[in-house]
Amino acid sequence: MYIFKNTEQNNFKASDLETKSMLYLLGMHKEKEQIETIVVDCFNDVTGINTAENNLWDIQSKNHSIMNPKKIGKSLFTLFDNFESNFNFLEYILFIPKLEPKYLINSSLNSYGSSNIVERTIIRVENGLTAEYERVNKKQPDVTSLREFMELVIYVQDYKRVNTYIKQITKFKSNSIKSEEFYKSIFDEIRNVQASKKNSFIEGESIKTISDVLLFNRHLHKRDIHTLIINRFVGGDLFAINTIPFPFMQVLNQYDDIQDQQDLLVDCNSNICKSFFNKNDNKRFWRVTESIISELNSDSSQGISDIYNQINGDKLKLPFLNKKSLLFLISIIKNGWKDED
């Protein structure tokens, strides 16, 4: 018998937290609307880039079982390093498990600046950061620069439950109740894709502008994550509850006979099911969902026929999706779309 003892067991927990930090940036951060692309393991664990590609939101996540002030300081190093670079980082976020209340002035906050950390602790945090800086750079950090950085850094605590992160991402709200596992499986998919982004070798490479980083294919677009989640929700709801999405009523009302209506509903559900099972043409189906979402993003009050025309529904010619089924798909997504107040 051989017992595995020296595997990188922390890797799993760590990448979980990295994924959470990414979802945080896309779904909960106050400037989430601006963030368009997420770069993985380039500047830091996770870095958000805006559409104009001139701003960066930098996140370092750390999952030590005991997060003492020294370790917090050490964890801040990569963020500080980026602070000192000539790239334009807008925000420096340390994503960590809940800290012990004794370190904090108000321990009920989920995100806070250094000012919420008690003075004794903040000194030890700074010492930890300085020590790490000296270890790596073999010199002392600039004190004014370090102080300035400490004023800027934001600490965000992990909310724990995976569904909270998933639910916050999109404006699409599903009607039916889904199990914890359902959310976990979506989360795992995102985590795996995120992890696979790290498989290339970029150590030592250099870039001149922010947009150069996209050449390494270590990024994910926000719309991909959105599409993924909405796709999973829609798939999970097919046939699950036979609620008719409101916008589809206009199609359904073209039929007087209830039996004809029922047939239509079964057909539409069936066709979308087939699309979900058909792996041979999945890219095109994915693009359709994506374009529906993007239409709703630009104007959620559009009618389903408008969206159908906007995405060139007649010309798509997808294997299973006829016009009514596509309208049904649009209706499901539109029906679940809840604009925030």
Binding site: F182, S185, D224, V266, K274, F276, K283
Partner: protein, 537 residues
């Protein structure tokens, strides 16, 4: 569950009752025909009960509405015919059959008990559930269920066991040999019927059929009635056929989905360089699969569930068709013997409409028998003692209650459904039902109200009535009961409002005319709020 509002009517006249409180509600009037029964039956009907309206009330012409709080959430139900629309703050659901409504109720509103019936698990129909806490004025037969449908009293007991967490198992023991013999007989029956159908089809023309010798007017009237029923049978059959088709479609969908998924595993792609079969799309930044395993298995489960629901809907149609056929036969039996030729006509219609119906029902029985035979080997643990104990607990409580309201009474209850030959005289039937509903409420501790239409039918004495009301008050849950008063009782204001009693007087309603224009505007507003034009009724 709390009842907040009940309404029914059409565009011209309506009635709305919203005076219910969360304690004991007594609805009363002097004399009958004030609409109490319509209100109570309308309430239950709106929530999917079988119709048991007083004769002469054409319930099919009206819409029935209720606002009910279930698990602290408000739900509105609007029923017309067999369509029920359910609405709460988050959704609007249209159910076109009662089975569909039941499954929606079970899934989204509140889980319903599941019992074993004919060797398979079945979510109980709402009318069976309602017998736990609702007693209508009519059809009272202590020895059996009030609304049977496809259920019997054993199913009611199964439901009671299930609600108390006693493992659900088929109460009847099947004998394999016996079942196999039954199956053979059924198959033979079906064969014979097929032959009969063949012959019937040969004689479709009624030779020399004349109407000379019979009363033309009577004949035409009869003929119209029969044709109406016949049309309704044909319509139902058409609907059933459509539903059946959809079920088949879903079954083939399952096959197709499986093969769509298989296509991929058959034509395996390998990487020419390293031999790995893990080929994923990474070109132009596309990294996700179109669906994941969870989504796919969820879809498959949902389709399977849908197929089961469709089966139930088909059974519901079966029952409706059976009812219509019975009605048809009854009409014919009522025909006067003068209609000699007419009887001839009858044979033709019956042959045409009901032989294939009989064949169909034989097929259902054959399926059922097959199912039972295949499940007989399944071992189930014996928990007959637990069952007996529960029934004893309930009947003990019934006897205790009985002695409170009738200290000198000489009845003893041993079962929830007394033997047929045990007759209850005078007020005893009412006392039995009272004890049964209250005891079930106490022992099962269920969350439903108590609803009794005519709670003192059978001349319950004032003393007993007073004790009953006291018991209702102590339940501290919503109780809705109705009572018809004699003039002298009405004159002395028999029921008075208290902290625990809410009295609702129906005496000002015109005789046999609860529906009025007074409420029609409000009712139309309610109906329109459901966007009823969507519901093609």
């Amino acid at each position: 569950m709390k009842i907040k509002k009940v309404g029914f009517g059409d565009g011209n006249e309506a009635f709305i009752e919203s005076r219910f409180k969360e304690n004991v509600n007594i609805i009363f009037s002097e004399g009958n025909n004030k609409g109490k029964t319509l209100l109570i039956q309308g309430l239950m009907y709106s929530m999917g009960n079988e119709p048991i309206f007083p004769s002469g009330f054409n319930f099919k012409d009206y819409h029935f509405y209720s606002l009910v709080q279930i698990k602290n959430k408000d739900y509105e139900f609007l029923r017309h015919g067999n369509s029920i629309i359910v609405r709460n703050e988050n959704f609007l659901q249209i159910c076109n059959t009662i089975s569909e409504f039941k499954h929606f109720f079970n899934k989204v509103i509140e889980g319903l008990p599941i019992i074993k019936k004919d060797a398979r698990n079945k979510v109980v129909d709402l009318h069976l559930l309602f017998e736990l806490f609702f007693l209508g004025q009519d059809n009272r037969v202590p020895s059996n269920l009030i609304v049977k449908g496809q259920y019997n009293k054993i199913d009611f007991l199964s439901m009671v066991y299930t609600l108390k967490g006693i493992e659900n198992q088929e109460p009847e023991k099947y004998d394999l040999k016996n079942e196999q013999i039954k199956l053979e007989i059924l198959k033979q029956d079906k064969k014979n019927l097929l032959k009969k159908l063949k012959i019937a089809k040969l004689n479709t023309k009624v030779a020399g059929f004349t109407q000379k010798s019979i009363d033309k007017e009577l004949f035409n009237k009869k003929k119209q009635e029969l044709e109406k029923i016949n049309k309704s049978i044909l319509d139902l059959k058409k609907d059933r056929y459509r539903e059946f088709n959809r079920k088949i479609k879903l079954e083939s969908l399952l096959f197709e989905l499986n093969s769509l998924n298989k296509n991929l595993s058959q034509g395996k792609t390998h990487c020419g360089e390293c031999g790995s079969d893990k080929i994923i799309f990474t070109n132009d930044e596309f990294d996700f699969e179109i669906s994941n395993k969870d989504v796919r298995s969820r879809i498959i489960n949902s389709i399977n569930e849908n197929i089961e629901i469709k089966e139930e809907i088909i059974q519901e149609y079966d029952l409706q068709i059976q009812n219509e056929v019975n009605q048809f036969n009854k009409e014919i039996e009522l025909s006067s013997p003068d209609l000699g030729e007419y009887i001839l006509f009858k044979d033709e219609i019956i042959n045409a409409t009901s032989i294939d119906e009989e064949i169909y029902s034989k097929q259902i029985s054959i399926d059922k028998a097959n199912q039972i035979i295949s499940s007989i080997t399944v071992f189930s643990s014996d928990n007959s003692k637990e069952r007996e104990d529960l029934i004893k607990e309930i009947t003990d409580e019934m006897n205790r209650l009985y002695h409170i309201i009738d200290p000198n009474g000489n009845l003893t209850f041993n079962e929830l459904f007394p033997k047929k030959d045990q007759t209850f005289s005078g007020s005893e039937g009412q006392e039995f039902y009272f004890c049964k509903l209250i005891a079930i409420n106490t022992i099962l501790d269920h969350k439903y109200p108590i609803i009794i239409d005519g709670f003192r039918n059978g001349e319950i004495s004032s003393d007993k009535e007073r004790k009953m009301i006291e018991i209702y008050e102590r339940l501290s849950k919503q109780v809705i009961i109705t009572s018809t008063l004699k003039s002298e009782e009405y004159a002395i204001d028999k029921y008075k409002n208290t902290n625990t009693i809410n009295v609702i007087d129906y005496n000002n309603h015109k005789d046999s005319k609860i529906l009025s224009q007074k409420f029609s505007k409000d009712f139309v507003t309610i109906i329109e709020s459901f966007d009823i034009s969507l519901n093609k009724n």
